[in-house]
Symmetry: C2
């Protein structure tokens, strides 16, 4: 076991590494150096090696990292090799879009239940799933072994819904309401805030020359030269 804790920055890069590695595996590349992989994802090679080391993932000096092993190890760290059934709270436009989005299941996050408070929605069917009343959260979550809640209600309802899903035993929340959520320790919230993203865009738009380092911008080319790049 490594002494090094895994930093949030490292966790954020893992999905990026994984995607690039899956491409390499598809192209039958068996071994990859930190230099090559890091160039593909636009990260410094020392950072990449340090990230892997913090997960106790090792390579072979003089050779590099085994691609299949890397895919397996990062997948395991990210929990990508198991299913995390999801509940979507809020059956509005966005909630229905998520329920219909095949990417959820493909990525191991199948939507198993939908909830709303609107009497005209409760009882209807979206993407072959019945829309439950929010009051049924505890029983439905229990029944389906749901571990992740995606909150797509209007902002006013966000905190109440968060309280309800936490009370029902949920410890991972993906929050699309603009509101910040107050949750107990041990519950993880990720904020996806469209309005904030757009406002950040308009900030740079307005500033003209966008001297802006992006979250993750990268470009992979397995066969040819590898180019990593960010707008500056």
């Amino acid at each position: 076991m490594s002494e090094t804790p895994v930093s949030d920055a490292t966790v954020g890069r893992l999905p990026v590494y994984l995607r690039s590695l899956v491409d390499l595996a598809k192209a039958d590349v068996s071994s990859v150096s930190s230099a090559r992989l890091s160039a593909a994802v636009g990260v410094n090679s020392a950072t990449l090696r340090r990230d892997l080391a913090s997960l106790d993932i090792t390579g072979t000096r003089g050779v590099g990292y085994d691609v299949k092993y890397l895919v397996a190890a990062i997948s395991r760290a990210l929990g990508v090799n198991q299913e995390w059934p999801v509940a979507v709270i809020g059956a509005g436009n966005l909630g229905r879009a998520l329920a219909n989005y095949t990417g959820m299941s493909e990525r191991g996050f199948p939507v198993r239940a939908l909830f709303d408070v609107d009497a005209t929605k409760v009882g209807s069917t979206v993407a072959d799933l019945p829309v439950h009343h929010v009051d049924e959260l505890p029983s439905v979550i229990e029944a389906h072994g749901i571990s992740v809640a995606v909150i797509v209600t209007p902002p006013e309802a966000g905190q109440a819904v968060a309280d309800a899903v936490v009370a029902a035993g949920i410890t991972s929340i993906l929050n699309f309401t603009g509101t910040g959520l107050d949750v107990p320790d041990g519950v993880v919230v990720r904020q996806v805030d469209l309005a904030t993203e757009l406002q950040i865009l308009s900030f740079y738009q307005q500033r003209g020359t966008a001297q802006h380092r992006l979250g993750f911008e990268y470009f992979v080319d397995v066969d040819g030269p590898v180019l990593a790049h960010s707008s500056t």
Copy 2:
């Protein structure tokens, strides 16, 4: 003019400050100290003062900051006081959800045009907007003075669409495809990646005790005691 450049971290906090300030303004609070506002948004007060200073926003020693002035100044910095017409590329579930999402217009980002390549979608109407073929990007973007493109196509199409919107003069992109985009300097891309967010959640879920610092988690109470908090 301030010497200090505005860091990306600062820009990311501005929308959070603004939302809290709007609440204060609604509650008829005329003046606020950095201590109070920073507590409300869960940020250190020195960080807040530094953020404001980097935008040349000043307060009054011994008094604090004028709320209305702060709202105006941050709004102006974020470009929130003007409209940024948006094009949505991809008329699938998510694209249609965005077109129907009233929050876009409310926040100053009205969806003015929809695009797709699917012949069965082109010509149809979504949220009172005709779905154009992607080939029409240049003319439609020109006609509506569109400055922001939201890409919600399948990942495979992401780069081609990005190239097309950039060629059509767009300099701000909100990218929902999981793919990284290679864009020229001066074009700003914000990545909104559902799969990555979910994978990060499952990482912490799996680790059990989530020792996780959230992007922006905050809690505002204008009247009573102010509590800032993040799950640890």
